[in-house]
């Protein structure tokens, strides 16, 4: 069995290309392991994030192995496998900012917020903060947000917590910034806490494949392979269900 899988390639530490041209990061490694377990011969293709889902919907991929949040529109169009990363969204603000991140706290402040174009953060902000509360600025990728945040063109960013923690807050240039406003789950609020997370997705017709993928992933979490791979790239836990493997190396 041959599978063509799509991946973003520019989302460290989950996905990136090293200097010799190999795709590495947490997602590709997990995907390779998964393929081994379901006995598939996988080719992982790197493509712009924006092009991934439409390409799969047009039948150009058999699945996407980049974390994707289960928004209602997406759930309608694609099958979501079990969550592989719980990477909630959060706000990144300047250390000295004094507003509270509620609708009331930010209204009328004229704050400029960075959002990823086409990402699920956009409808979420609209729903919980209103369309005109912030001045919204759209970016193609988080690197551009970071450059603009450091350049002083932005007041705050609303994006994935883990990435921003690793890429900004933990680094020297992030000394003036902090996370704020708590964790926000962008998916269906009906999903219970424990099952929340971003998943790989597959075409609607591939139910059988998704089952096999889920089985493989569950096994990987259970035998701590998941955690081993995760630790190579991400220092903090990314799933609640990996708690049992906390001490594995």
């Amino acid at each position: 069995e041959k599978l063509r899988l799509g991946n973003e390639g520019v989302y460290p530490p989950f996905s990136m290309v090293d200097s010799s041209g190999n795709l590495t990061g947490m997602e590709p490694e997990l995907a390779r392991e998964m393929c081994k377990r379901i006995g598939a011969d996988c080719e992982i293709v790197v493509m712009d994030f924006k092009a991934l889902i439409p390409s799969m919907l047009q039948g150009k991929f058999d699945g996407i192995v980049t974390q994707i949040s289960p928004t209602p529109e997406r759930v309608e169009k694609a099958l979501f496998a079990m969550p592989i990363v719980y990477n909630p969204a959060t706000f990144i603000v300047k250390k000295d900012s004094d507003y509270t991140l509620t609708k009331e706290g930010v209204t009328g402040k004229g704050l400029r917020i960075a959002l990823q174009r086409g990402a699920s953060m956009v409808p979420y902000i609209h729903k919980h903060f209103g369309k005109d509360t912030f001045t919204e600025v759209y970016y193609d990728n988080p690197d551009q947000m970071k450059l603009d945040l450091l350049a002083g063109r932005l007041d705050l960013v609303f994006d994935s917590k883990i990435n921003w923690t690793l890429e900004l807050i933990a680094k020297p240039e992030g000394k003036d910034y902090k996370l704020a406003g708590g964790d926000h789950w962008l998916g269906d609020p009906a999903i219970p806490e424990a099952e929340r997370g971003y998943s790989w997705i597959f075409p609607k017709k591939s139910e059988e494949l998704v089952k096999r993928v889920n089985t493989a992933l569950a096994e990987m979490i259970k035998d701590c392979t998941y955690t081993k791979i995760r630790k190579k790239y991400v220092p903090v836990a990314t799933l609640a269900s990996e708690a049992a493997c906390a001490n594995v190396n």
Binding site: L57, L147, A151
Partner: protein, 258 residues
């Protein structure tokens, strides 16, 4: 999926957003067209100057801004200049701090580079004999430029100018890299929300098509007016194959560009 499923309801719903996008596109067209043109004149004079270093400098400008893809040019101006601490503190930050400012700077530079060549082509196409005749009439250089060379250069270069403007409008479709929500960006975000491969893109295409063709129409009228001296209504005034017409035609050629 069968046929070309255009979702009329979605198209209708998206119209207001697309219109907003079109407004942004129009602004991003109008300002750089003016600024770029203004910038093109001095650079064109430099490019045609007898002073070697000046000409070389102008040529370098043209080579650079014509060669660098707009996508990358915009990126460098917007994100690159933002990294310069001194600039952030300085007065120009009003301009470079905003994506619009950056986009207008980058687009203007790009347009200027192309316009230098359009202008130069038009000026070179002015028959030397006509300039000589003006000199023989004792008209000063400055007046020759204003009353003879420029009016003719505009006529000879009009087609090339139109092409540059049209291609420029279409080129603005990439400003979304610097966070500007223009017509293309609107269509893209609708596409990314709905994953409908036709409706938003075709709608945007229709908007562009209309915009571009209104511009072309305008140029057509302008050209007709400018070239009224060559109009062929008083037909069979035979014998004279209209030197002007012939010259104009050859100078058009080669300029039929995107």
């Amino acid at each position: 999926m069968n046929g070309l499923p255009i979702d009329l309801a979605l198209a209708w719903e998206s119209l207001p957003a697309l219109f907003d996008g079109l407004k942004v596109t129009a602004i991003l067209t109008a300002l750089p067209l003016l600024l770029g043109l203004a910038l093109a004149f001095p650079i064109c004079f430099a490019r045609m100057s007898d002073r070697r270093w000046l000409a070389l400098l102008a040529e370098a400008f043209v080579t650079f801004f014509r060669g660098a893809p707009l996508l990358i040019l915009l990126y460098l101006v917007y994100y690159g200049l933002g990294q310069i601490e001194a600039l952030r503190e300085g007065p120009f930050w009003i301009l470079f701090g905003s994506p619009f400012g950056c986009a207008i700077v980058a687009l203007s530079l790009n347009h200027a580079a192309y316009m230098v060549e359009v202008l130069r082509g038009g000026l070179l196409a002015v028959p030397h004999g006509i300039v000589e005749a003006s000199e023989a009439l004792g008209i000063t250089r400055r007046n020759i430029f204003i009353w003879v060379k420029m009016p003719l250069a505009i006529r000879y270069g009009l087609k090339a100018y139109q092409n540059e403007v049209v291609s420029f409008i279409k080129g603005t479709a990439i400003v979304s890299v610097v966070t500007i929500t223009d017509l293309t960006a609107v269509a893209n975000s609708i596409f990314e929300q709905t994953y409908d491969p036709f409706t938003p893109i075709l709608c945007a295409a229709a908007f562009y098509w209309a915009f571009v063709n209104i511009i072309r129409l305008g140029f057509g009228l302008w050209g007709r007016w400018l070239n009224r001296h060559n109009a062929e209504d008083v037909a069979a005034d035979a014998g004279v194959p209209g030197r002007g017409a012939a010259l104009r035609r050859t100078s058009d050629l080669g300029q039929v560009t995107p």
